[in-house]
Symmetry: C2
Subunit: 588 residues, 2 copies
């Protein structure tokens, strides 16, 4: 597979042979060759966005290039490739993402528009493709395989059958089937997942995996079922078993889950890491601003003792090969001219980044004059909540005049996102379960926002919320309206506010909204640039924190309704036992 | 790409989950994992020719496998993959090749049927595909790209346009475009090569290279033109430059050219060898019998100091990835069950070889009961020489009554196959150039055998032939009848004999054939098994040697008319200056 068909190959060959001038020569660099692991002095010639030659230092050209860039003796190496990320998790639209991550040296992202697909279906995927096209950053898309993630257990804004996935696979820019997160469906040969795998396999396309804690027999069945990669490992042992069994591993450090140092321990003793690449999965705008992108993972790997060339290889050559790109991930004749200049091979911000042969960023500033500077998106309001009239809809009614009710209180087990339940006797006042005497507990509600009218109200002990309500329409994977609250009036206020903004994040106290972050694009993304957005996120985060007695992250709530994890899960349709993938009662 | 579509994936998954029995478990092995470079105790379960699980030693199965093979504590590693070979060069047909090389641990060969294509065209390629199908050895074919190798400079039995190559690329078992040996055509953007490259590129298929001594600007142009691999390097510097510039390298040790130790010197200082694999290119039946196949290259690499696991990785995992096979080159769930058991990781003959999950060879014996045991081929006679009436056709006539003529005497330069020419005054007797007083020289003639009537007669100093004639229809790349001789009567006798046998190799003295090796399949291949064939080759080689004053190899003559090398070349159409790709006069 090629990342981009070179339009006029003969022109490049003529340039290589010195018959016509190149657009650009980057001279005076220490060339870090990701094909061989060597570093040596060289100069790089570029035409039409592709590499024409990598010449020895001092070798002259018969026809000088139109422009010459002095590399200043810096290291030149390929741009970085994120093997798996969800753009929506940055809360930025693709054109803004480009401006945020290119300065960190990332030139290609392989993305799963799973979130917008769950809200807006194929229209959402097409929006991501089109919007990505406005910026130079290479943004590939994998067709979301699990829309909804857990059919029957949650309601999303769309439902993809194998034919829908196939239709997306036929679109330019779509390079495979995205993480097959219904992993038990794959393992057990469920018809839907088998048919979706076949859509990809029949086209010779990449099938991406998602196999948390799968081991032994089930891991083997999952691998045979199709997916050949995974980014969900949490332990060294898990990484090691998966690599040994033929899964490619995307070492992940996301804003939600980050066990990077533990994971790299799983690589110890291996002779080579050909099947290892890096990914950021879900990464937060503030983290992108403050810490960086893939380069930050590279820095940590090097800090942990990994050979710097190997660390960079994981997110260049290896990532390209994972997808079968044979013109990305290295700098050589016929490769695309995505590269960076670095003062040191330590994961720092590059001095300069070249994308498609053009200077795209310098010293942290995006300098490319592409279409990403103007945002022309007119988002539609995707908030279609129905059947919710007022605060009474956020209460748990107990009908039979009892003074107490036994309620299943959800709580984290300490193993990642996994939750268990504990039956607790709670007082009933005026026919409604009351948490007045239990400041350690909160209500949580998931309200369908695609017109079904479904909702679930439950009790959790996972949030230190003292008063008011915090709500979001970023709620993996169906992105229904999800609210944690102490008082129902504030929960309803959040809903009212987010209906008005087309979704977003909101904090309310005493029945009034105190801060809101509008996310008008599918209730998932802002149109703002990364720095502006990060400030707004900070404001809403602070407002949410002011309601809480312990540290609160808005991501905690965003993954509370995620059905693709083991243990107990809440969705708009009820409380789900993730292991059995079945509903259970939460009040008795 | 997958080597072979698994027919019933659910059955394999059921077996992985322990719901049904596997065909085979190979237990008690030291598992050499080519995905991670680790060695650890394990056991391997197989069903329907694919790997179902690799279990830890001691872990039991819910349902026992139908058969259990005790690995005896040996190393288990994948079968070897030859990245580039011409089956015809072994002089065996594909079904016999399988019996010869599987016992050495080779389970996959990626072949270029360039020779038979030059003789029989697409019919020849189809024969190779069909005949390969009679044995378990995986024999993939790349569509010959240069039929003839040097259009206009030689006449072959067929001529492929881009459409013909495209037609072959559509056949099952064809995995790419074979070595694009008209390298100057590629570099200069010649229409034929550009169109052939496009046939492969348009299908996302692999383009194999052949770029002897290409360097700098020309190498870059060749790489951009399409081909991404090479096996023609002769020096450490050539290997290094090609790897650095994005060419995959097939380290070659063939029966004709072997600079393996020099080539591996070119890998020194590299951090990794991801783009390096192994190939045998042209290998002789006697060498296969005595020395082995890829394993012999592995042994030499290890002897030269390469880490044994890395040496095996080159011809397993790396070779598979070169072609984009993601189910070959390793042993893991979903991979095809081609593996071997070895007493030591030193390139020795394996104790046992499993192919498609079945024991195929044990202690050097091919034990598989497949269709390769019966040869049912009825070859047609492809010798269509015309216009040759007698010995006079093998003389150089000088028409104007001169006593001497200036003749261009061909001679090796010492740089591989490369030849230069030297103008020498030779006596003319009865109007014919005479070598009577020059025992150091010989005549050489190339006679078209596809009905064109063309022939070229010249003089060479490269053979120590004292008397008689040696002739062959294996004559790269057009495989015209090629004869080296001291007396024209013996040359004609060779022609008469090989017309009768449908081609082959022949030695004659005093106008009579003294030994002949019939090669009835396209004048290139015998139907014999390797051991029988090797004896016959030895006999004809001995007969040829008996005519010579210095060591003589029949391969020397087979590559004497090869136009894809620099320097001077002889073809049926005349003497060619390989550098300029133009004819030059040889008598003045």
């Amino acid at each position: 597979m090629r990342a981009c068909e070179i339009r006029d190959r003969r022109r490049l060959m003529d340039a290589a042979l010195g018959r016509i001038a190149c657009d650009l020569t980057v001279e005076n660099v220490r060339f870090a060759n990701m094909l061989t692991g060597e570093i040596y002095p060289a100069q790089v010639d570029v035409l039409d966005g592709a590499v024409v030659r990598v010449r020895e230092a001092g070798e002259s050209l018969p026809v000088p290039s139109h422009s010459v860039y002095d590399g200043g003796g810096r290291y030149l190496l390929p741009g970085l490739i994120d093997a798996h990320m969800h753009v929506e998790s940055t809360m930025m639209i693709p054109q803004q993402l480009a401006r945020a991550i290119v300065p960190w040296g990332t030139t290609t992202v392989c993305t799963d528009p799973h979130e917008i697909a769950n809200v807006m279906g194929k229209r959402g995927v097409r929006f991501m493709l089109e919007n990505a096209g406005l910026a130079a950053l290479r943004q590939y898309i994998l067709a979301p395989s699990c829309v909804p993630a857990a059919p029957g257990l949650e309601s999303a804004g769309a439902s993809f059958c194998a034919g829908d996935v196939g239709e997306l696979l036929g679109q330019p820019g779509v390079i495979g089937v995205a993480e097959m997160m219904d992993y038990m469906g794959v393992v057990n040969g469920a018809d839907r997942m088998a048919a979706i795998a076949e859509e990809g396999r029949g086209r010779g396309m990449f099938l991406q995996g998602h196999a948390p804690q799968l081991t032994g027999a089930a891991l083997a069945a999952y691998r045979i079922g199709g997916p050949s990669s995974d980014h969900e490992s949490r332990s060294a042992e898990e990484i090691r078993e998966k690599l040994r069994n033929g899964m490619r591993i995307n070492l992940r450090a996301s804003s939600i889950v980050d066990a990077l140092e533990e994971l790299t321990r799983g690589l110890e003793g291996m002779g080579w890491l050909d099947q290892v690449s890096l990914c950021t999965d879900d990464v937060h705008a503030a983290d992108l601003l403050a810490k960086g992108h893939l380069n930050a993972i590279v820095a940590r790997l090097i800090h942990g003792g990994m050979n710097p060339m190997v660390a960079y290889k994981l997110c260049t050559y290896n990532a390209a090969r994972e997808y079968g790109f044979d013109d990305l991930g290295a700098v050589a004749p016929g490769y695309l001219a995505d590269f960076q200049l670095l003062d040191a091979l330590d994961g720092r911000m590059p001095y300069a980044v070249f994308l498609r042969g053009k200077l795209a960023a310098c010293q942290g500033r995006y300098v490319l004059q592409d279409q990403s500077s103007t945002c022309r998106v007119q988002p539609e309001n995707t908030m279609r909540v129905c059947g919710i009239k007022g605060e009474e809809d956020f209460c748990i009614a107990v009908g039979d005049g009892r003074q107490t009710a036994r309620v299943l209180v959800l709580g984290r087990t300490g193993r990642g996102l996994e939750r268990s339940g504990e039956w607790v006797a709670l007082p009933v006042r005026n026919g409604l379960v009351s948490l007045q005497d239990r400041p350690d507990l909160q209500f949580i509600a998931v309200v369908n926002r695609y017109g079904s009218g479904a909702k679930t109200v439950a009790v959790t002990k996972d949030f230190g919320l003292r008063e008011g309500a915090v709500a979001t329409t970023i709620s993996h994977d169906s992105h229904n309206f999800t609210v944690v609250y102490r008082d129902a009036k504030s929960a309803f206020a959040c809903l009212e506010k987010l209906r008005e903004t087309g979704g977003g994040i909101c904090a309310a106290r005493e029945g009034r909204c105190i801060e809101a972050l509008p996310l008008p694009l599918a209730g998932l993304m802002s149109l703002d640039a990364c720095d502006v957005l990060a400030k707004k996120i900070d404001a809403v985060q602070s407002a949410m924190q002011s309601l809480c007695s312990k540290p609160f992250s808005l991501l905690d709530i965003s993954v509370y309704a995620l059905p693709a994890v083991p243990g107990l899960v809440i969705t708009d349709k009820g409380i789900v036992d993730g292991d059995r993938q079945a509903f259970i009662a939460s009040v008795s």
